[in-house]
Subunit: 106 residues, 2 copies
């Protein structure tokens, strides 16, 4: 990004908000990641292999998605024996997706 957009735009959204929106959008904008959020909205916490099975996504790829999401503060993880359990940290994301799903088809 080089040109800086005007400080505020007609509607209520400040640039910082637009950027936060864009951030959440970007880090969630992938079917697998949305599915992950869905699962963790319903389950509190799940191990990598749980998720891998439920979503039918290969271990390594899933791990990449998960650690990316963790890095960006969306998920958290804790080890428990052999397994590592992931959970939703940034709960807003649930609302966001919920919200999207709702207002997109009416």
């Amino acid at each position: 990004m080089t040109a800086t957009p005007a400080a505020t735009v007609d509607m209520g959204l400040s640039v910082e908000k637009m950027e936060k929106v864009a951030f959440i959008l970007k880090t969630t904008a992938h079917p697998t990641r949305i599915a992950i959020v869905q699962l963790l909205a319903a389950q509190e916490s799940l191990s990598v292999s749980d998720i891998s099975e439920k979503l039918n996504v290969e271990q390594s790829l899933l791990s990449h998605h998960l650690s990316g999401m963790k890095l960006k503060g969306i998920l958290s993880s804790t080890r428990e024996g052999k397994n590592i359990y992931y959970a939703l940290k940034m709960r807003e994301v649930i609302d966001v997706i919920q919200c999207l799903a709702a207002c997109m088809f009416l």
Copy 2:
């Protein structure tokens, strides 16, 4: 994408919905594009140079964003003399962003 996620996941969201969500997310996930949607939510239609001034984004870059969004069905455009006016075609996107902005900070 190679592995196909399970057909449905715990919550109400089908894979098609998740993909549609992801699509809207992706095509909107950029501060400039969000700003464009904001403008066009408030203004019905605006020329490229209008938008360029308001957002302080260079002509060519803006044009690329606009035509991308048009290509993906989010915007429409009509010529009127020298100018080309863009308008929001996929109105859901407004709700989506509105919705996001709302539920993200409480």
